[in-house]
Symmetry: C2
Subunit: 543 residues, 2 copies
């Protein structure tokens, strides 16, 4: 009786224990309060035979979940992840093969491969689950393609004796379902791997669920980026917004313009070679994650100026150049020649249908100081409205990128300044101040929007700030049903002023997990206490 | 000419580069702003032949420093750290032998052992520095002893051709001088190790320079504690205030009362065995760091109650016990029997002359609810003043600990509540609100004080908060010269609610370095811009 209770309470104890054993309990922002200070209530008799419910450990919570207390046992030496009958994907599908191996390891671990799940003499044997069969239903499973905005990430998972079945239209849904299945599997006190009989219907609430990493303020080594992609997959994120260059440094190694990184990177080592970039894209693809690079212009470009002569606007003091430079020079033909060639390369290096073109925080002072710019303004009839000059520049860049059949994302200022945008443009709302109103304007004008404003995770504060991120309701802005549909997702942004490889992971995770659930799960999943419990377990698992 | 300039500017570039190569640039709270965005001014001709001044890299800044631009070369294959003539310490001094090996590695690195310092053909050869001779002047060098409050950490360092000489009264000063010497040595662009001719006279401004780690809210694996001791040595801290147990868990494994950790730790693994504790103490000793354990009573003791029956006060609701427990029960003889035995063990396990007895944040509600406690109050004539009961308890604990010839530290409430304190008691001031006034009261009453209030580093915020910690002037409180002398130092506290092995190091360092310099260097070392420059280099070196 006591022993059974010990077992029933074991999962929570075990998770805390395991998590602690890995030298890693609670996080940046999750309080591991007083799990032992309150005496646990004596469990009722019917509870004793059962482990805690499987929902305790799912993150983000699936859209629909029916679960039973009946448990099945997985024996690592026998359990298989396989392609199911009727699947359009087979052993030739490298993406799934890779995922099968990865999730097998997550569930059972390298060292447990031979484990046969011994249990104490006399304990009843749970029925065995021998396989997870994965069935891709579309004729085009997507094994060799890249995920995109319209990809299906829906899946249906049935865990029942003797086999579990995971159905998805495309491989992207299968990846999400594999993550969920792995979260259902848990180890009990006797080293048995168990899973509750369950049925899950799941799909994302929003199609664009991104993490922004900034590799300009601080260089991030490749390994940090890949680790972050793993964490993203654990949280069903599907977009890496790679803010790759900025004022501070230019680590992207361009084939056409190698001087940009030769002179603009922190050093010859602090660059992303074409091989590095390709590796990031492929590693992301295998996890169903898009890579959208951002090449932010005309502001935030100081580092570009080092390797590309005459690209930036010379600033003046009266009639004298000061030797300093401002934003990209919008009045020279050579600027557009350069951008045409540069974005041709970017369009071919990055397979995603979108490129982020930035357009935020353009400082007009340098343009104002420059006599040639002012003459140009006069000629164009812009008066003294430098936002018009900015739009003139942006318009040309948008047209260049469009000509390569790419869509573009832009920061909200580009919309605010009334550039002529293609209908499929994605406008990213980042200004904290009254972002609901901005969402209303952007979608009211018929544009697609994503929300970043409440999720600037580089801003840290003491305590459990994940609750703040979690409690955001993205659709809580004034607008019609049609407008609401135009909000296609959001991004958690980790700007790099105070972030490098030494603190990236503990600063971003599990805080970003809060955003992950908000963007994936149903809008009514808002219980903070329930989320805390699941997030604690999820964190231990991620570690 | 251009090449020489490249070399002259090389050190800064190299440090940034190396630091970045180690995948670790700037920190939690140091902004690595725009080192390349402002064009560097063309250096004057006389600057070209010289590397940057050595002060650029010293942290904390020595009390007196005279330095020359003349550089000496260290050849790793030949350079030696040795005992100098007339030293009272020799090869039998394990502490120094260990330190010699450690600092050799810090300066030259494992992989460079064979490096002969090749330089480009035709470049002039710097004269060679062949040895650092360490001379301990006291007849009792302290090799096998423990550092204590009155230990001498002063040293005198002369770097000149052909040998450098480091003189110190005791080994503790030699350790500080070795750290400083290693900070003077730098590698130039050609892989040569150089040091400027210098003379340094140095000693700490305050005798007690501590870091508080909390291993109760989250368990910290041994490795994290040892790594932190290394970082402390880099910053000339000399006290580890080990807040080892608290409400949340009791990881200290007691020989007399093993049930305390058996039942009070997070798990059987999350404990510090006698071997672990001994290892921490010895690792600290070798770095000139005292280990002061804190066993906080009568509050903050929930975890004690699990393994020690009847130690805590039962709380009541009217006439019924609620099943919950409050602070240590101060009215039972068994309490003092237990404490007598427990602190006998602690006094023998921890060699330091001080034990921290806590005494903070005692919640009176449970005592108030308990009928037997109230009867006791009446009998003692305490009326309804529970602070008197608290003092009654504390007084008995102080007497117990005194009987083992230990000094004690206490949190400020113990002083505020007017317990009878031994004259050598150290009162730790932690309440942020008007701490200058509290320092005034404590020292006015003739007690020794240390300051923690402005240095609670677990409170995080966005940006460079190190400046806030750096700008504190500890002696800025009303009081006589005699009172000022009673403030013997301070502590940077990292409480563990949101800290574990995953984020300890980047959260504490280099923010705590700001406190380190404030407590070591002269009071007039307050230039934030200069500190920023040195701290940036120091961080790279620590990494």
């Amino acid at each position: 009786r006591r022993r059974a209770m010990g077992r029933a309470m074991g999962l929570a104890g075990l998770l805390v224990g395991l998590c602690l054993v890995s030298a890693v309990l609670v996080s940046t922002s999750l309080r591991h309060g007083a799990p032992r200070t309150q005496p646990a209530p004596e469990p009722a008799a019917w509870e004793l035979a059962w482990d805690p419910v499987p929902e305790d450990s799912l993150w983000p919570l699936p859209q629909e979940l029916r679960t039973s207390r009946r448990q099945l046992r997985l024996v690592p030496a026998r359990f298989q992840l396989v392609h199911g009958a009727g699947s359009s994907a087979g052993p030739g599908c490298g993406l799934l093969q890779d995922a099968f191996r990865r999730y097998y390891e997550y569930m059972f671990g390298q060292s447990r491969r031979g484990k046969r799940g011994r249990r104490p003499l006399g304990a009843p044997a749970e029925p065995e689950l021998s396989q997870l069969q994965v069935v891709i239903e579309s004729r085009e499973p997507g094994c060799d393609s890249y995920p995109h905005l319209a990809s299906s990430e829906a899946y249906h998972l049935t865990v029942a004796e003797p086999v579990a079945i995971l159905k998805a239209v495309e491989v992207w849904g299968a990846l999400r379902g594999l993550e969920t299945f792995s979260q259902l599997v848990h180890e009990n006190d006797y080293g048995s791997f168990l899973v509750n009989e369950s049925e899950i219907d799941d799909f994302p609430r929003f199609a664009h669920r991104g993490i922004l990493l900034d590799t300009s303020r601080h260089y991030l080594p490749l390994k940090s980026i890949l680790t972050n992609l793993d964490a993203m997959a654990f949280n069903k994120f599907n977009v890496l917004h790679w803010h790759i260059v900025d004022d501070q440094s230019f680590p992207y190694q361009s084939a056409y313009f190698p001087e940009l990184s030769d002179k603009g990177a922190y050093s010859y080592n602090h660059i992303y070679t074409p091989t590095d970039v390709h590796l990031v894209i492929e590693y992301a693809r295998l996890r169903g994650i898009r890579v959208i690079p951002e090449f932010d212009t005309p502001g935030h470009t100081q580092s570009w100026g080092k390797g590309q002569k005459d690209l930036l606007t010379p600033c003046y003091n009266g009639e004298q150049p000061t030797g300093s430079f401002g934003p990209v020079n919008p009045i020279l033909n050579t600027t557009y020649d350069f951008m045409t060639k540069f974005f041709k390369e970017i369009s071919s290096v990055f397979p995603d249908a979108y490129i982020h073109l930035g357009g935020d925080e353009v400082d007009f002072d340098c343009w104002k100081s420059n006599p040639e710019v002012n003459e140009f303004m006069k000629k164009q009839g812009f008066g003294t409205d430098y936002a018009k000059l900015e739009s003139y520049y942006i318009q040309k860049i948008l047209d260049i990128v469009s000509s390569y059949n790419k869509g573009y994302m832009v920061w909200q200022e580009v919309f605010d300044n009334k550039a002529q945008l293609k209908p499929d443009t994605v406008v990213e709302v980042w200004m904290e101040n009254n972002y609901a109103h901005e969402l209303s304007s952007v979608t009211g004008a018929g544009f697609t929007a994503i929300l970043a404003a409440p999720w600037y995770l580089d801003y840290i504060s003491y305590g459990q700030d994940w609750k703040k991120y979690y409690s955001v309701e993205p659709l809580d802005f004034p607008g019609s049903e049609k407008q609401k549909k135009l909000l296609i997702g959001g991004e958690a942004c980790l700007w790099g002023e105070f972030v490098d490889a030494t603190n990236l992971t503990p600063r971003l995770w599990p805080r970003a997990s809060a955003v992950g659930e908000r963007l994936w799960s149903s809008s009514n999943v808002t219980d903070l206490q329930d989320a805390y419990k699941r997030l604690t377990n999820h964190r231990c698992r991620m570690l």
